[in-house]
Symmetry: C2
Subunit: 290 residues, 2 copies
């Protein structure tokens, strides 16, 4: 099969950007793959790992002639970066991103690029770990992941199909969504798990329980429920920030539901507690289709 | 090494009781191992699995002559079961349990037994999965687990040491605790993870987000953060119920902390959100000593 793009520039070879680059190297060996980073260290590492020799700290050089440009830096710098490389972005090139929120990205970066005649389509690969950096990236991270695609700027259908074909060639499935619906969905299925994992870790140490007792009794339940909160705090602060309306709505739901459980316990409503727990099991099974 | 007990009766061969029985079979091959269950099905399964031929539905028969009696049924039936087997419990035998709360167990079963001249020491192996039943048990479940021991009824030191030696022979480490301190600690390190996992699953489906969107975008963060809430709802309703004072105190902490995060987002305090997330990471690292 012909690769959908003969040249791809990945901006920000961290965990996700690095995994995309390694996956391109594996699935599209003839692709002209470029990496851009602000610092040279990750670029040197990428060379040593055999990902590509084409590395850049100048965004213009990295973007020039690329058929696909992937923004994988922190979301907060997407727009500035896009402005800087604008003269080098071909009008037939597709620019996408891998940010965890989409309405904000389209409102900023998407507007900036499309108002200047460039093509911008949003992507959000639902893949990650609590680890950070190129050193933890892997070509398998994307295997089987869903990539949400967002196209409020109405790029042509064949462009969306071309971008979808790219993700599919890396082993992903794609799913076209409205950006606002995307953001509300990830608030519940991704941002809320992160917040509750963090809440769980914070709550463990919030009482008067001696640390050595917590350490001795912590088992797999604590480990797994809190795992994701080891993810990069800076990135997650951006995500919560940029999706704050949807996130606050979910927080309000959580607070209401915890009050409900507390009332059930206070009112000695054992059947109510059981129902609360059974509804949770059923919800998880339904979401995970198991 | 001589096994600490030459005969052990396990009451309730479910996930944990079954794992203990299989571990005894492996580590103490000469032990006279008995299993009691209310129904014959798990006992037949235990025979087929080669765990033991000595299976009983009469508690008196199972307990008679046993040097160690382990209560691994639902906590709610410990006391009734103890009363029924009381005449068969030797005065030199040790009775223990594997319940997830300890103050309640000592206040009920512990009092009942010790007032009648029997020895009762509490145990809580910090090991489990979201699975249920003997069919999911395994000898490795206990490997490396901490077992909290509670002795408010002041059994003699050599009896506590003998029980500790038993758990250690199965690959566990032991940790003597005050029952109230135990219950407050597990409220934070075990019961709270379960509640927040359940809250996360409930919250996913609580909004107007279409189920198919949640299903498509659910990834490893949702999977791991919610994993434990697939555990048996009945058992967990008992646990929350029997530890309700400590649990409600933790719920109040969670509600307060979610309000705090919501306020930080509403007040556009990005540094505050970052600090909230960084404190969570630090808390998890400290508890897990990593």
């Amino acid at each position: 099969m012909q690769a959908p793009f003969s040249s791809v520039a990945v901006f920000g070879p961290g965990l996700l950007g690095g995994s995309i680059a390694r996956s391109i190297r594996e699935h599209m060996p003839n692709c002209d793959l470029r990496l851009w980073a602000r610092r040279t260290e990750p670029l040197e590492m990428a060379k040593q790992m055999g990902i590509t020799e084409k590395t850049y700290t100048d965004p213009i050089d990295a973007a020039r002639g690329a058929e696909l440009i992937i923004l994988a830096t922190p979301i907060a710098i997407f727009e500035d970066l896009s402005r800087r490389m604008l003269p080098a972005i071909d009008r037939s090139a597709i620019v996408t991103d891998v940010g965890s929120v989409k309405a904000y990205v389209h409102r900023t970066t998407g507007d900036t690029l499309t108002e200047r005649g460039r093509i911008f389509i949003g992507s959000h690969p639902m893949a990650g770990t609590e680890k950070q950096g190129l050193e933890h990236s892997s070509a398998t991270l994307l295997q089987g992941a869903t990539v949400a695609l967002t196209n409020p700027h109405r790029a042509a259908a064949n462009q969306v199909e071309r971008l979808a074909a790219f993700w599919q060639a890396l082993g992903c499935s794609t799913y076209l969504m409205d950006p606002t619906n995307h953001d509300q969905t990830v608030a519940r299925i991704s941002h809320m798990p992160h917040i509750l994992a963090a809440l769980c870790a914070r709550g463990a140490v919030a009482g008067k329980t001696p640390m050595k007792d917590l350490q001795r009794l912590a088992a797999s339940g604590f480990r797994d429920t809190t795992r994701v909160c080891e993810g990069p705090a800076n990135m997650w602060a951006d995500i919560l920030w940029e999706n704050d309306v949807a996130v606050r709505s979910v927080l309000a739901d959580c607070i209401r539901d915890l009050h409900h459980l507390s009332d059930l316990l206070e009112n000695q409503d054992r059947q109510g507690v059981l129902k609360w727990l059974e509804e949770a099991r059923a919800a998880r099974k339904e979401v995970r289709q198991s």
